[in-house]
């Protein structure tokens, strides 16, 4: 009887016992593995650029449940004190320890080393500093542009100053809308892996734009339209620079889904009549074509995208001429495909749904008349 109880107890214990055994040498049920950490080192003090970067490999016996940050600490404390990286809370809330792990940006403090080796079927892990930012030393990068982009979207509530005596009342659904972006920890993972930033350094980047949405969605803010207009302005490198590659959604450790927030800003802007940008026009022309014939209208799409823009129109003309002479000109008559009627129905259904989700902007249209000093 007693044995049985003990047996049960053991089972129960095993179930709830943490796998985290890093600090407990001698625990028997710990799987260990020899893992190589290939770490990019960077020393800006070196004269030649090619000397500045090198790769050091450290080998550690790692127990299951150990995080990458634990391993980096061990390497720093036991092998090479000059290894440089940022870290602080150890609890994926401060956003300090982002770095590229096998080419994808992750937080070191929440990255399980064993899991990485299993996913990549390799016992060597490549650690590099974040991308799209200037390296300072080893895994530390200068995040100046990242903070600059955040500053550019004015991430603070702008209100006329007539505050209620107590708190603003905010419906639960309204508050819930803010949840996704509110959990952003500004770790820079989305910025680091953003494919647009790779080619367009002036792009505000996923994190800043997600924050921009947060203030558009916040019922306390009174400059929504101004914000939308600024974020849609082509010269500002805002929402229309995004190429929907999903990279930011994939790497975000807090499930902020920045790309989704960017798409929301575009939608809000279109809904509130900010449609005079080539992005928005392209969007509409694309969608209208599909709605009416089941597929895009290749003839009108480029023209509608350019809009009433003489220079743009003349830039298009040579392409059109060449297409015409090579016999590649699409049919002028936009012929509906089989089942186009069904597609139209889907559209109408979706549009109905959209209308109920529309952003309710109460502020007056002529916001420019307000005193800008109040900001």
């Amino acid at each position: 009887m007693k044995d049985k109880k003990q047996e049960e107890h053991k089972k129960e214990k095993h179930k709830a016992n943490p796998k985290y055994i890093f600090s407990k040498p001698g625990a028997k049920d710990a799987k260990t593995k020899r893992i190589k950490f290939k770490i990019q080192r960077f020393d800006a003090a070196k004269d030649k650029k090619e000397d500045a970067v090198r790769y050091d490999t450290f080998e550690l016996e790692v127990k299951e449940g150990t995080t990458l940050l634990d391993c980096l600490d061990l390497i720093k404390w036991r092998h090479d004190g000059s290894l440089t990286y940022r870290r602080n809370c150890k609890n994926s809330i401060c956003g300090s320890c982002s770095m590229k792990v096998n080419k994808r940006t992750k937080l070191a403090c929440e990255t399980q080393v064993h899991k990485i080796t299993e996913t990549f079927c390799s016992d060597e892990i490549l650690i590099e500093p974040m991308g799209n930012m200037v390296p300072v030393k080893d895994l530390v990068v200068d995040m100046g542009n990242f903070w600059g982009a955040l500053h550019a979207v004015k991430p603070w509530i702008i209100h006329d100053g007539n505050f209620p005596e107590k708190e603003f009342t905010m419906k639960k659904e309204e508050a819930k809308k803010l949840d996704a972006v509110a959990s952003c920890i500004m770790c820079g993972a989305c910025y680091s892996d953003c494919n647009t930033l790779d080619v367009e350094k002036r792009f505000l980047g996923p994190a800043a734009l997600a924050h921009a949405l947060r203030y558009v969605d916040d019922p306390r803010d009174t400059r929504k339209k101004e914000r939308l207009r600024s974020l849609n302005k082509p010269g500002n490198h805002g929402v229309w620079d995004c190429t929907h590659c999903f990279a930011c959604i994939q790497v975000c450790p807090m499930k902020v889904a920045p790309m989704e927030q960017i798409l929301k800003i575009r939608k809000y802007a279109q809904q509130s009549g900010i449609i005079y940008t080539s992005g928005a026009r392209h969007h509409k022309a694309f969608s209208d074509g599909v709605k009416h014939a089941g597929w895009i209208n290749e003839v009108t799409l480029p023209i509608k995208s350019v809009g009433l823009n003489i220079v743009g129109f003349f830039q298009l003309a040579p392409v059109g001429m060449r297409m015409y002479f090579k016999g590649k000109m699409p049919d002028i008559w936009h012929k509906p495909i089989v089942g186009a009627e069904e597609i139209k129905k889907i559209y109408l259904e979706l549009e109905k749904k959209e209308m109920s989700n529309k952003l309710d902007i109460k502020e007056p249209e002529l916001f420019e008349h307000r005193n800008p000093n109040k900001e």
């Binding site: 107890h9 053991k10 214990k13 179930k15 709830a16 016992n17 943490p18 796998k19 985290y20 055994i21 890093f22 600090s23 407990k24 449940g65 995080t67 940022r86 870290r87 602080n88 809370c89 150890k90 609890n91 994926s92 809330i93 401060c94 956003g95 300090s96 929440e110 399980q112 300072v136 995040m143 955040l150 500053h151 004015k154 991430p155 603070w156 509530i157 209100h159 505050f163 005596e165 107590k166 708190e167 603003f168 009342t169 905010m170 419906k171 639960k172 508050a175 803010l178 949840d179 509110a182 959990s183 952003c184 920890i185 500004m186 203030y215 916040d218 306390r220 803010d221």
Partner: protein
């Protein structure tokens, strides 16, 4: 020279709240980016008697706080804090903090240990994060200069005049700080300096504190000969993740979590029958340790369970998403179906830099240091006495951060930049850093300074380093704690031997002011038979540090008289 009216050391809640309030040229110096400050890890909430879920008053909040402090809290400071609390919450809400809401759209409140009412305003279980990010936004909006990743090395405090009781009036005139990115060391002058440097939990192994919680502010005032107050009161939080120390927020118990021992009992009924799991932190921590000591830890081990399973998935995901996330990531535990193994963890320091109610730092029982202020966890105002109630720390940070900002404004309006007398200060700090960077271990020291070509300067430097190393040696830590074939231990003993006689090598080399055979002194290149044709015996008395005894023995010369050595 860099100059600001107000310098705030630390970019957490207290520091940023003060910066928002401060006027004139304001700068924050922080060794991490402000958003990385440990305030962001605060989970549970911020207490204020706004009475959104039950009729409440500041008097009740005050009584709970004073009782929770075991009556050591200074009640005038507590009164100020709890009276300010509701207004401060509304201010924060107007700034844009995203609080969780009740069904009718007001700020929601939950229960916490030691409170008689649900009084804790929260933002799911990331309250600190919500506050910190919104305050940072305000800093951006205001355009406060942030020296991010700068480490303050020294406060500049010099005497100016005499106090009433005859003691010297100390005045803070600025700081000396190291720019971590470039390695530059700068003197930054200021009219007022605020210490908002936070906690020191890193002196314990099991702690909920982050890497940066190393009590640098406390060390800064100690270096200036200023006192610390109530340092014996260190809060050990009842629920830290077993072996990791990360905090499981008190909100878990506020929302109805159970503490369970090995026998499956809710053991808190023995220790605090009326409050159960919601007893104050000190009592709950002691209860858990008592259970563990009595052998009722889970499986006889040193942890108990925190059980949320009865709350159901929906409530857990809505109110405690971060706890769920943390347990999954750090322990592979799904709190919906499994209990969390927990153990008390070092969490908060009630003591700190003694300040007045106006956040002015005291140099003794009566006199203030002019121009030096402290707020937040590093300060001891003391609103927490011998034990802090949960959710009062965020409140302390914002209320006294704001107050410090206002008090500093008043001070700066009526004062000028004071001249720093000691011009050597900056150079001294630079020298210290250089020495630290150039410091070698024993072998490198001997090789650099006591090698083939020796001179007085090199040898004296070597002697200094060997003495330093000898001091460090007495505190050496051995990794291997076993008793069988402990080579780690043997190595440490061997190092002891090396350090002992190496000192004598250097002393002997210093003593022999000539060049002879293997011993070459650049400053005494010639052989000196008159003085040094003899053996020296050097010994050192253990008890008296500097008592070096030098004895001589003659060289025995029989057949060959000394002559010039030529080959």
């Amino acid at each position: 020279m860099l100059q600001h009216d107000i310098i705030i050391i630390g970019g957490g809640l207290a520091g940023m709240r003060a910066a928002i309030e401060a006027k004139g040229s304001v700068a924050i110096i922080s060794k991490v980016h402000p958003l990385r400050s440990h305030s962001c890890a605060a989970e549970g909430g911020i207490a204020a008697s706004i009475g959104n879920s039950m009729q409440d008053s500041w008097e009740e909040h005050m009584y709970d706080t004073v009782k929770g402090s075991d009556f050591l809290a200074d009640q005038d400071a507590v009164e100020y804090m709890v009276k300010e609390a509701p207004g401060e919450i509304f201010d924060l809400e107007h700034m844009g903090v995203i609080f969780s809401r009740t069904d009718d759209g007001k700020i929601a409140q939950r229960n916490f240990g030691g409170y008689s009412k649900p009084r804790v305003c929260y933002a799911t279980d990331k309250t600190g994060h919500a506050l910190l990010h919104e305050l940072y936004s305000q800093i951006l909006k205001k355009g406060v200069k942030v020296y991010e990743e700068w480490y303050v090395l020294k406060l500049i405090i010099e005497p100016e005049g005499i106090n009433e009781d005859g003691s010297k009036q100390q005045v803070c005139k600025g700081v000396i700080a190291l720019d971590i990115k470039t390695g530059n060391i700068e003197l930054i002058q200021a009219k007022a300096v605020l210490l908002a440097t936070g906690a020191y939990g890193k002196c314990y192994k099991t702690t909920s504190n982050d890497y940066a919680s190393t009590g640098d502010g406390l060390a800064l005032v100690l270096k200036e000969g200023l006192p610390l107050q109530d340092m014996e009161f260190v809060q050990i939080h009842p629920t830290g993740l077993y072996q990791i120390g990360l905090l499981v927020t008190e909100a878990v118990r506020g929302e109805g979590g159970y503490l369970i021992n090995d026998k499956g009992q809710r053991f808190m009924e023995k220790y605090a029958p009326s409050k159960m799991e919601l007893a104050p932190r000190d009592i709950t921590s002691r209860a858990i340790e008592s259970e563990i000591l009595a052998g009722r830890g889970i499986g006889g081990k040193d942890f108990v369970y925190l059980d949320l399973r009865h709350l159901g998935k929906e409530k857990i995901m809505e109110k405690l998403p971060f706890v769920h996330e943390m347990c999954t990531k750090q322990m592979h535990i799904d709190v919906v179906t499994q209990p969390i193994p927990i153990r008390p963890t070092a969490h908060y320091s009630m003591g700190g830099i003694p300040v007045t109610k106006e956040c002015e730092v005291l140099q003794d029982g009566k006199n203030k240091v002019l121009g030096l202020y402290a707020a937040g966890e590093c300060a001891c105002i003391s609103v927490h006495g011998a034990n802090r109630l949960g959710a009062n720390s965020l409140l302390e940070c914002v209320v006294f951060g704001k107050r410090a900002g206002r008090v500093m404004n008043l001070f700066c309006a009526n004062s000028e930049f004071e001249e720093v007398y000691n011009e050597e200060l900056l150079e001294e700090e630079k020298k210290k850093i250089d020495e630290l960077l150039n410091r070698d271990g024993l072998q490198n020291t001997m090789e650099k300074y006591c090698w083939l070509l020796r001179d007085d300067r090199k040898l004296k430097f070597a002697l200094e380093i060997v003495h330093d190393l000898q001091k460090v040696y007495t505190q050496i830590n051995i990794d291997d704690k076993s008793r069988t074939f402990n080579t780690n231990l043997v190595e440490v003993l061997e190092l002891g031997s090396l350090l002992k006689f190496s000192e004598i090598i250097v002393l002997s080399a210093l003593n022999r002011k000539e060049s002879r055979g293997s011993h070459t002194r650049a400053d005494f290149p010639k052989r000196d038979d008159l003085k040094y044709l003899k053996h020296f015996m050097i010994s050192k008395n253990e008890d008296e540090a500097s008592s070096i005894k030098i004895d001589e023995r003659p060289v025995v010369i029989t057949k060959h008289q000394p002559e010039e050595r030529k080959y």
